[in-house]
């Protein structure tokens, strides 16, 4: 069991959606870990960029702050 503090976490309905979401902000190559097929861990600044990119595309994810 490890505690990773101040990371960005993205969870999607399925792995395909996650791939598309990561690609939308060019974050696919910057993923820190994929603990599950539909979950990615990112640096916080990458996660913020992802939120911005998705909002710009009108996708409006559920952002938990």
């Amino acid at each position: 069991m490890k505690f990773h503090l101040h990371v960005g976490v993205v969870q999607c309905e399925d792995a395909d959606t996650l791939e598309q979401v990561l690609a939308s902000a060019n974050c696919a190559g910057r993923v820190l870990a994929r603990p599950a097929p539909n979950v990615a861990v990112l640096e916080t600044e990458d996660a913020a960029r992802l939120v911005e990119a998705l909002n710009e595309r009108g996708l409006h994810p559920k952002v938990l702050k």
Binding site: Q11, A47, L59, K62, V63
Partner: protein
């Protein structure tokens, strides 16, 4: 209910609606905060237009009400700055959840203790050359500082609460002047030649500072009038009639609210009624885009604020039910469908931009290991694979709930380098010390070769260098390794990543001329130039394969000989 009581409570309720209007403008505009700490002029204008009785810019100091409500909102943390922009704070939700009387008490205390609000600066009849742009007071001026103002506010409230049922503003000013002449500015030494003027304070439009003699009502009296009209009236201490300049004692009886909303098929929500409830409208404003500038309170249902509300923990069905409860008729079907759809779509992608990720590495059932107080305090959400995630708590909260001897890996800082270069092209990385950045680096560079052992992989390095760039890859390598790489491994990595071009090891054909001038002349010969691949030094040329034979022939044609190297 007496007229006075009804009017007074409407005064406070109206004041709270003005605060709500300012907060709604913060939601809809998210104004940029300038260097002086205040939002831009456009924001002030928009807020002013949204007030029940807007200030008239031409009458003097504009936007005193907006400045007042904004100062109070900041004082009790209803708004905060994010990346130099003003945004509503989650504590505003808690504020509006509290009962009306508690909210009023908090606002009153906020004004009484406000250090960023100076009544002198917003009094319309006064001009303050002694106040700088950032609302700091010039040391040489008579403008009272925050400490004096805090004491003065309490003194005025004390006097006002002991007044009779009804009194005039003039009587109040006289009473304050007679009992507390030094309330704002010390007048004990007014006969001195040093204290002829109110330094840094003048009447609006005047060319010189006010004389102290005979102008107490003009300066302090004007400030007291503003205090009656704005804080005392809007925070429910008195009922103030600015036309008749009359003050009435206030009653504490809460007034019933009466309003309803109409939800239109074009996604507009209109609040109707002359006594709307600020707390309810705040809840509405939090999942819609408020449009506070008009005379009618309107809220636009949009996907972005709806998704943002879901992110703050609200449920889609709960918000829909709340809206339906306010509406006098059933919600239009297209609105119902859209709200349901927005809720479902938002749930498809969930992002925690700043999270605590609890990794169930090598643990079958994390629930058994997590301390109950951690689960209770942070309420982490279960992810596939048994991992947990929640919004990153502050350091003190996290320390209080972590299991013993567990230290979180803080990605806001630089993490320790845990990968050790081994023999040859191998790397060693103990699993228990591996953080996600190190794991990511290992994936970029190597393939696993057993427990804690990894082997550098040329193909992986080439792929990674192409994806993130050789410079970035090398930076990560330097940061991630516990000690510098051996020359062999460094050469390999930098070559694989594309930083170095491969060195040449071959039987070379050379053209050598000992005399520098001879070398320059040879270089100019067009017959030779095509066979020179690279000039290695002055007089030393690397020839293309087969070039030596061609050069000999060319030189022979010119009648020049070629020296033979001595063979051992």
């Amino acid at each position: 209910m007496s007229y006075a009581a009804a009017n007074e409570l409407r005064g406070y309720a109206q004041g709270e609606l003005d605060l709500l209007a300012v907060l709604e403008c913060v939601i809809s505009r998210q104004p940029r905060v300038l260097k002086n700490g205040l939002p831009n002029l456009a924001f002030f204008r928009a807020c002013n237009d949204a007030l029940s009785q807007p200030d008239v810019e031409a009458e003097g100091v504009a936007y005193s009400q907006v400045e007042f409500w904004l100062a109070l909102a900041r004082q009790i943390g209803l708004v905060h700055e994010v990346d130099s922009r003003l945004e509503p704070d989650d504590s505003a939700d808690e504020f509006f959840d509290a009962p009306l009387m508690e909210r009023r008490t908090r606002l009153r205390e906020a004004w009484l203790n406000a250090r960023d609000f100076n009544e002198f600066s917003v009094t319309p009849t006064l001009e303050l050359p002694g106040m700088r742009k950032g609302r700091t007071v010039d040391v040489g001026s008579d403008i009272p500082g925050p400490g004096t103002l805090i004491d003065a506010r309490r003194a005025i409230v004390e006097i006002v609460t002991t007044l009779g049922q009804e009194t005039t503003l003039a009587a109040l000013v006289r009473r304050v002047r007679d009992t507390l002449p030094n309330l704002f500015i010390n007048h004990d030494d007014d006969k001195s030649w040093r204290n002829v003027y109110y330094r840094g304070i003048r009447e609006r439009g005047a060319r010189e500072d006010c004389e102290r003699n005979g102008n107490w009502e003009t300066v302090e009296g004007a400030v007291i009038a503003l205090i009656c009209e704005l804080p005392l009236s809007r925070l429910g201490w008195v009922d103030y009639d600015p036309r008749g300049q009359l003050l009435r004692q206030a009653s504490d009886e809460p007034e019933a609210t009466a309003f309803e909303v109409v939800v239109q098929p074009n996604f507009e929500v209109v609040a109707l009624g002359d006594r709307p409830d600020a707390a309810t409208l705040w809840k509405l404003a939090r999942f819609t885009t408020p449009q506070p500038e008009g005379r009618v309170r309107k809220y636009l249902l949009e996907r972005a604020p709806f998704a943002a509300a879901l992110g703050r923990g609200a449920g889609a069905s709960g918000l829909t039910d709340f809206l339906a409860g306010l509406s006098r008729s059933p919600l239009p079907q297209n609105v119902q469908f859209s709200l349901k759809d927005w809720g479902a779509l938002s749930e498809r992608i969930k992002i925690w931009p700043d999270a605590l990720f609890i990794e169930a590495e090598g643990v079958d059932d994390l629930a058994k290991l997590l301390p109950a107080r951690l689960v209770e305090t942070l309420s982490p959400e279960v992810l596939p694979g048994g991992h947990r995630v929640c919004v990153a708590p502050d350091a003190a909260t996290l320390r209080g709930v972590l299991p013993p001897r567990r230290v979180p890996l803080d990605y806001a800082r630089r993490l320790p380098p845990v990968i050790e270069p081994g023999e040859g092209a191998s790397l060693r990385a103990p699993r228990e010390e591996l953080h996600l950045r190190a794991r990511q680096l290992l994936e970029l560079l190597s393939t696993s070769r057993g427990t804690d052992i990894y082997q550098l992989d040329a193909d992986a390095v080439k792929r990674s260098a192409a994806a993130i760039g050789p410079d970035e890859l090398l930076r990560r390598i330097r940061e991630g390794l516990s000690r510098p790489l051996s020359a062999t491994v460094a050469l390999a990595l930098r070559t694989w990543s594309g930083e170095f071009s491969p060195p040449i090891a071959d039987a070379a054909e050379l053209l050598i001329a000992d005399n520098p001038e001879q070398a320059d002349l040879l270089e100019e010969l067009t017959e030779l130039r095509g066979w020179i691949e690279r000039k290695l030094a002055r007089g030393v040329f690397l020839l293309r394969p087969g070039g030596s034979e061609r050069v000999r022939e060319a030189l022979k044609r010119l009648g020049l000989g070629v020296a033979e190297r001595k063979k051992k």
